[in-house]
């Protein structure tokens, strides 16, 4: 019996399931994917809803929602080996990111207590990093995209994922 326990402990020590980032934050379900007509309408709706989410906290919610959405989109597209679309979605997720910090800074300037929002953001970023690290393992470092009537492009997926991780790690 003692030997079995010892063996299990050794197994755990030899093959540690180390996860650097873990968070209870829940990312949204994947929404519609690029290529469909409804996706174009959805983009329009997304742009219009930016105005619905007015205010500092409103903008925080909107940009966090967008950065979450496009991260999930990138993850799903990478899983289906749609590397170009996934790559674009990941860049889009990063694009919304500075706006989150900007809206928080604005809220602070307007004397709003941002402590709860910072906790939410921290949790979200941990979940993002967790997702991105898994993505990094599951996707090729680079991908040569060969469009039909244009020059081929090399997608530096690994660098893009690493940059996305770094952006999120630098959240104050």
């Amino acid at each position: 019996m003692a030997f079995r326990i010892f063996f299990i402990i050794i197994l755990f020590l030899l093959f540690p399931q180390v996860s650097l980032a873990q968070s209870n934050y829940v990312l949204p379900y994947p929404s519609g994917m690029p290529g469909s007509l409804s996706y174009k309408f959805h983009l329009l709706y997304e742009n219009a809803s930016r105005y619905w989410y007015f205010g500092d906290f409103g903008q925080f919610d909107y940009n966090l929602k967008m950065t979450d959405k496009y991260l999930v989109e990138a993850k799903t597209l990478f899983e289906y080996k749609q590397y170009l679309l996934g790559y674009k979605a990941l860049k889009k997720s990063d694009f919304y990111f500075p706006n989150i910090l900007f809206s928080l800074a604005k809220a602070k300037n307007n004397n709003k207590d941002i402590s709860q929002k910072k906790i939410i953001l921290k949790q979200a970023m941990l979940k993002h990093i967790e997702t991105l690290e898994r993505m990094e393992v599951d996707t090729p470092d680079t991908f040569n995209w060969q469009p039909e009537k244009a020059l081929p492009t090399t997608l530096d997926i690994k660098t893009t994922i690493e940059r996305a991780i770094n952006i999120r790690k630098n959240v104050p």
Binding site: W52, F54, F57, D61
Partner: protein
């Protein structure tokens, strides 16, 4: 005799106003000097006092209706009575029976003070805001229509950042709409009885002048829409009808009646307004009965249908059922007031109290009609 009745009624309203302050929330720091905790620690006595007060309210209501029927009260006297009622109850504690007025203020603050969209951001997100200590629906996004939220900008800004001033500014705002609705009831009916039935109805008085519910604003706009349609002003009537829906959405059920009236107007055909109000009352009764789908039946929702049913007092079954509902719904507060919990037997008791009296009245008149 009439003067004595008015004097006794005024004294009773004054006592009721004092009674309302026994319900001051312990977390409402702005009124800490008025806090006694009495209503929460002496539940039996409070419940008996409240039930007695409701009975007295209805005795006076009966007297006023009697005076109206016997033509012993004129328009001027009714106006004096209403002014006294509003002037005294304006000073009552608005969260005696419901905390909605705090929700109105909190929602308004999200938009006009924090400049955030109340349909996206909840009051609870503003950590440290003093309103959070006593606002009961702070964890919800705006529950009301956009026009209501816009309108609340007026009382909110008139509060100049002072909570007590804001609170009474909201009450004043509702009092104004109460008088506007009363005026419309008079204009639409041109009779004293509907005016007394509506304006001095204890449920209308308590839920509007004490608790400050916004249902009166929605009903005012719906009645104004019908009033304008009666004057053949279709465009303005449509605008106010839409605005009424944008207060609390319930008047959306009046769309068939509204379209019927517009169609008759376009076709230059006569309109049987009694039928219009009767149908409106029934549709609003449906909205009232469907309200558990969203949450639960709240006493102030009765304003939706009683305001129309009192416009057609000759529809006896509807009239007496409406009065019975006014009475039973005010007693709906009793189980919680007595037990202090929303669990256990309270929900069941609330339903029994709310529906048995109107159901009995309804059955009595149906059987009487058949005999």
């Amino acid at each position: 005799m009439k003067k004595l009745i008015i004097l006794l009624y005024s004294a009773f309203l004054f006592l009721f106003t004092i009674f309302s302050y026994l319900f001051v929330d312990p977390n409402l720091s702005y009124l800490k000097d008025f806090y006694s905790g009495f209503a929460f620690s002496n539940r039996l006595l409070t419940t008996i006092s409240y039930t007695t007060a409701i009975l007295i309210f209805f005795i006076f209501y009966g007297i006023f209706i009697y005076l109206g029927v016997k033509k012993k009260i004129n328009l001027k006297e009714i106006f004096v009575l209403l002014s006294i009622t509003a002037a005294i109850l304006f000073f009552s504690y608005p969260a005696m029976l419901s905390y909605d007025i705090f929700n109105y203020i909190a929602t308004s603050k999200v938009l006009f003070f924090y400049q955030e969209n109340p349909y996206v951001v909840m009051p609870i997100e503003f950590v440290g805001d003093p309103l959070l200590a006593f606002t009961h629906a702070a964890n919800k996004i705006a529950l009301y229509g956009p026009f209501w939220i816009l309108l609340t900008g007026m009382p909110y800004l008139l509060g100049f950042g002072n909570f007590i001033v804001t609170l009474f500014s909201f009450k004043l705002f509702i009092v104004i709409f109460y008088f506007l609705t009363v005026f419309l009831v008079w204009k639409l009916s041109k009779k004293i009885i509907p005016l007394i039935l509506f304006a001095l109805n204890p449920l209308v008085i308590i839920e509007t002048l004490v608790s400050g519910h916004n249902d009166i604003v929605m009903i005012f706009l719906a009645l104004l829409s019908f009033f304008l349609l009666a004057k053949k002003k279709i465009f303005l009537g449509t605008i106010f009808f839409i605005l009424s829906i944008l207060i609390k959405y319930s008047t959306i059920l009046l769309i068939p009646v509204f379209l019927y009236v517009v169609w008759r107007l376009i076709k230059n055909k006569g309109i049987d307004w009694e039928k219009v109000y009767f149908s409106s009352s029934l549709l609003m009764l449906v909205a009232f009965l469907l309200s558990p789908i969203r949450e639960e039946i709240y006493p102030w929702y009765a304003i939706w249908f009683i305001s129309f049913s009192f416009l057609v007092p000759n529809k006896k079954i509807l009239l007496y059922t409406s009065i019975a509902f006014s009475f039973s719904l005010l007693l709906r507060y009793v189980p919680y007031m007595f037990t202090g919990t929303y669990m256990g037997q309270t929900p069941f008791m609330k339903e029994i109290i709310s529906f048995i009296p109107p159901a009995l009245v309804f059955l009595y008149y149906v059987i009487k009609k058949k005999i």
